[in-house]
């Protein structure tokens, strides 16, 4: 019995840190807003901001330049310890449908997500996009991606500042 107890103690000591460290954590962090800029709409119009910052407008009149940019998110995985074992992370990303905004004579709808993630140039709301973070050997590994979208505006009267949320979910699928 003494030998077994001793062996268990040795085994316990040999166990790597994870069992004693913080739990692993996956997070998605909004780094930058999707900026559609300032423009006038006579009746209805739309503007598309690409993940690379490209701008396409239809039925809108630009008021200023240089005030558009894609959204940027960071997906971060903290393994919770300082282990060096190489991890390959599979993560699922879902960009949910944004709510339709009805504000002071303006109706705004966000649609047609675009990303610079491999294989996910266009993303429908609710569509699952897989993000891979390979060869993770640090405590925290992360990847950053841009999101563009299309904004449709219907103007019945007046103007205003609009803010539309972009719901984003990530789920860790596997760690190998």
């Amino acid at each position: 019995m003494h030998r077994i107890a001793a062996m268990m103690a040795v085994i316990t000591l040999l166990l790597p840190a994870p069992t004693l460290a913080a739990p692993a954590e996956l997070r998605i962090i909004p780094e930058a807003e999707l900026r559609f800029g300032k423009f006038a709409v006579i009746d209805r119009g739309s503007r598309i901001i690409g993940p690379n910052g490209s701008v396409q407008s239809s039925g809108v009149f630009s008021i200023s330049n240089g005030d558009t940019s894609p959204a940027r998110f960071t997906v971060s995985y903290d393994r919770g310890n300082n282990g060096k074992r190489q991890l390959n992370l599979r993560i699922q990303l879902v960009l949910a449908a944004a709510p339709v905004i009805n504000q002071g004579g303006l109706v705004a709808q966000l649609s047609g997500y675009q990303t610079d993630l491999p294989g996910a140039a266009t993303v429908q709301p609710g569509q699952i996009v897989e993000i891979l973070i390979p060869n993770c050997t640090q405590r925290v590994c992360q990847t950053t991606f841009n999101v563009g979208a299309r904004l449709d505006i219907e103007s019945n009267a007046g103007g205003g500042r609009l803010e539309i949320p972009i719901p984003a979910d990530v789920v860790l699928i596997s760690v190998k």
């Binding site: 030998r3 077994i4 062996m7 268990m8 085994i11 316990t12 040999l14 166990l15 790597p16 994870p18 069992t19 739990p23 692993a24 954590e25 996956l26 997070r27 998605i28 909004p30 807003e33 999707l34 900026r35 559609f36 800029g37 300032k38 423009f39 006038a40 709409v41 503007r47 008021i63 959204a71 998110f73 919770g80 310890n81 991890l87 944004a98 705004a108 966000l110 999101v147 979208a149 904004l151 505006i153 103007s155 009267a157 007046g158 103007g159 205003g160 500042r161 609009l162 803010e163 539309i164 949320p165 972009i166 719901p167 984003a168 979910d169 990530v170 789920v171 860790l172 596997s174 760690v175």
Partner: protein, 188 residues
């Protein structure tokens, strides 16, 4: 026999330890939700509506000498020069007034006003005679000190008056003359 038992126990313990050590992350269901933001600023389009014409009234000139009439965009009587003089008989009388436009748009925004350098009033009786109207000037109700600029108040409104100078060459036949003023307003 005791050693065998101990080795088996050790083997089982090592197996469990290896299992625990190799799968720390897989034992957890991990996810995260956030809300990014998208923003846009929609500007109310600027628009202009004509409310009143630029009117020079009835004018008389002599057959051998022309003249001109200047209507100011603000208050003040019309200025007659040369042989031009008000003719208060006839259909239009001799009342003069600047053109009046109503401008609507984004609240508390300034804007610029553009008008042609010269417009030509056509005789309404169908003849080809035309009279030049030049020196068009503007006056904003909310920004009276600035020429060709205006300001939309807290309700997004302004009024602009346009004055000008009508030249009447000698020998101009009697009649009514009418011109359209193209007024362009845009945010600055």
């Amino acid at each position: 026999m005791a050693d065998t038992i101990h080795r088996n126990a050790l083997f089982v313990l090592v197996g469990i330890a290896a299992l625990i050590a190799s799968t720390p992350a897989l034992s957890q269901n991990q996810g995260s939700t956030t809300f990014g933001a998208s923003r846009a600023e929609i500007i109310s389009p600027i628009s202009v509506t004509a409310l009143d014409d630029l009117t020079f009234g009835g004018i008389a000139v002599t057959s051998n000498q022309g003249g001109s009439v200047k209507v100011l965009p603000g208050a003040g009587p019309a200025e007659y020069s040369g042989a031009a003089a008000p003719a208060c008989t006839g259909t239009g009388g001799c009342t003069t007034n600047p053109a009046l436009f109503h401008v609507r748009g984004e609240r508390n925004r300034s804007y610029v006003i553009a008008v042609p350098a010269v417009i030509y009033a056509q005789a309404t009786n169908g003849t080809n005679r035309e009279l030049p109207v030049s020196d068009l000037t503007s006056k904003s109700l909310n920004l009276p000190g600035a020429s060709f600029r205006g300001f939309l108040n807290g309700a997004g409104q302004d009024e602009v008056r346009i004055g000008g100078t009508l030249a009447i060459p000698a020998g101009t036949p009697p009649g009514s003359y009418r011109a359209e003023i193209s007024l362009v307003v845009s945010y600055d």
